[in-house]
């Protein structure tokens, strides 16, 4: 698709020719993830994570479909049906633990995938559309994961649903009616559980659809690479198959080793003990926390403690709670604007000395800090740390990044991918 030297699909047998003339599906696969897709030769292991995220989605869909065969979406029966799966369904414990930890591992690989994009500037021209679709997938994943966590109807399921749907009640005027409409009641109950189950089953397929668009958009300009230098000729690329199928196969093995180690030997490590207590609307847990992958956003939500208003008049324009909700959604939505906030023409963080400093010493520690504080009770020291980290988070993307892009003097870029790999200048001029 992308480069003139891409190998062309040549159907061999009569059957392949017959199929190719009528529905060229093998040709599509060949050009998407086969020898027909030329890829920069210098990709490092960070480029494995897109494929791994795809595998994680497939694991979730397969285990999820089997779970749905045994799960019972009822406030009286959901908790026990999950335990029925754990105890009485053949290998049900495996399917359930794989699905439960599969969600965490899906987020782990997607976070590394996003990190890769942020550091190597994969969101920049001409790949903005890939990035926008990627952020959309991330939002859909978060919604799916949240609804999935409600399904076992444990204490954290119920109270998590209570807190998260409570965000909507922060909206002025229409908030509370909107929340009741979404839940189908005054609090999470049978109506909410049923619709969450329905949507939790639907959304992975929506995600799969957006992934197809994401990969389609990727195949227009082709993959980026760690130098950020565009492909200049055939010598810069290798066919996806066999080169990257082999490398991704190895990466997949490593990923599955980690996944299996946690799923079989510490399956509850990433969960919360309270979710093994059946939901009880009359008993609030001492300390409601979301799953680990939501903690940075939860910390941002809780970091807003003062109302925005006109000083000395007592007039409040935006309440702290609403601001927290806006900021929490804003912290993800701002990623949609990233391609236009970071105006530096240099993509890779390797060649951006100033960007790199803010990235490693500002953004990364502040996200780690937010994740840590998000899981802590609201004591002053944790609130203070999340306020500092959240303030930096917004400043980093919205203020620092546009300024850095302007004032930074990037390091000299290699002339080509091949030159950066072999250390030798190109003999022939780039085509």
């Amino acid at each position: 698709m992308s480069f003139p030297w891409a190998q062309e699909y040549k159907p061999q047998g009569t059957v392949s020719k017959w199929v190719d003339e009528r529905l060229p599906l093998p040709r599509l696969v060949y050009n998407a993830v086969g020898a027909g897709y030329p890829v920069p030769r210098n990709l490092n292991y960070f480029w494995n994570f897109g494929v791994l995220a795809g595998v994680a989605l497939v694991i979730q869909i397969v285990t999820g479909i089997i779970l749905a065969m045994h799960y019972y979406a009822s406030v009286d029966g959901a908790f026990n049906s999950v335990e029925h799966i754990m105890r009485d369904v053949n290998s049900g414990w495996f399917i359930r633990y794989a699905h439960m930890n599969g969600a965490s591992f899906f987020f782990i690989v997607v976070y590394i995938h996003i990190f890769r994009g942020l550091f190597y500037g994969s969101y920049k021209a001409p790949r903005e559309m890939i990035w926008l679709l990627g952020v959309t997938i991330f939002l859909l994943m978060m919604a799916t994961a949240f609804m999935g966590y409600v399904l076992p109807w444990g204490q954290m399921s119920f109270w998590g649903a209570q807190v998260i749907t409570g965000f909507f009640s922060a909206i002025p005027l229409v908030g509370e009616p909107l929340r009741q409409w979404l839940l189908g009641g005054f609090a999470p109950d049978q109506a909410a559980l049923n619709r969450f189950f329905s949507l939790h089953y639907l959304m992975p397929f929506v995600i799969a659809g957006v992934i197809i668009l994401h990969v389609w958009a990727l195949h227009i300009p082709g993959s980026s690479n760690p130098t950020g230098v565009s492909v200049k000729g055939e010598q810069d690329t290798v066919p996806f198959h066999p080169y990257y199928t082999a490398k991704d196969g190895f990466g997949l093995g490593i990923f599955l080793i980690f996944f299996v180690a946690v799923t079989f030997f510490a399956p509850n490590m990433l969960g919360h003990p309270d979710n093994y207590i059946p939901a009880n609307p009359l008993s609030t847990p001492a300390h409601i926390v979301p799953e680990w992958y939501f903690l940075p956003f939860y910390a941002i939500l809780k970091a807003f403690t003062v109302d925005f208003g006109i000083p000395f008049t007592g007039i409040i324009i935006i309440e702290a709670k609403l601001m927290g909700v806006l900021a929490m959604f804003g912290s993800i939505l701002l990623l949609f604007f990233l391609p236009w906030l970071d105006t530096s023409p240099v993509r890779s963080g390797h060649y951006r000395p100033l960007f790199r400093k803010f990235f490693w010493f500002g953004l990364i520690p502040c996200i780690v800090l937010l994740t840590y504080c998000g899981g802590k009770p609201p004591y002053a020291q944790w609130v203070i740390l999340s306020q500092i980290a959240a303030a930096y988070y917004f400043a980093h993307f919205l203020i620092i990044l546009p300024i850095v892009s302007r004032i930074e003097r990037p390091l000299p870029l290699p002339n080509s991918i091949t030159e950066s790999v072999t250390g030798k200048p190109l003999e022939t001029a780039a085509a």
Partner: protein
Amino acid sequence: MVRLVAFLVGLFFSGMLLLGLGDTVIKAIQEPEQPTAEHEFHETPLAVSFAHDGPFGKFDRGQLQRGLKVYSEVCAACHSLNLVAFRDFGALGYNEEQVKALAKAWKTEVPSINPETGEAATRPAIPADKIPSPFANEVAARAANNNALPPDLSLITKARADGTAYVYSLLMGYRNQAGYKNAEGKELLKEFPEAATSPGLHFNPWFANLNIAMANPIAGDDQVTYDDGTKATKEQMAKDVSAFLAWTAEPKMENRKSAGWAALGFLIIFTVLAWMSYRTIWADKKH
């Protein structure tokens, strides 16, 4: 335009956060958080080891049988086990006849219907029944327990942090509150006179709020008589019943671990082969 709006939004959010920061700091200085008895005197679970710990651990069947004995003679007076069926006890090493006998002899009968009159009745349990609750319903349970509800124990070791050690610590953790000092030598009632246990509750520093409604269930040695001749010390009973409750929470744990080793073995071979083919394919390409 995008950058201008972004700059203003960034300034607003960061500004409000910094205002909030100032506010939090001032409040923290003006009204520092008061230490609470729960915070200072709550203990984390004791270090205790079990045969089923670790990636190779297997349940000790003898211990599970002893634990079942403690559960049936002590805990079952108040606590149900409604996710466990009598048939599941086959996994503890009992044969079918023994399971049937166990179910039939169970102190609490199972709710049923009188086949002639249709009135509510009870019948002896059969292997397919779940372990019945000693109370007909929540109201009855609360009425019999000073308004406290004895939780179902099926999942208790998964529903608490470090659950198996937690159950053991809780059972071993009843203390005399008068003069109680923690490891740092602080005396509870001197530091927090208002934390004195109210009547009907029992002091136990391993319980979240230090005061538990359950009276010490294993008060002394030889409360049960073990069939295998093991001396029923207080500690032995606490340990055995904790191991039993680890089993009720996850009866498929041994399958999980052995399947895990098989999966890991397969994946290590797969990964080595994948690495070798990766190296072979890329051998002629510098990258």
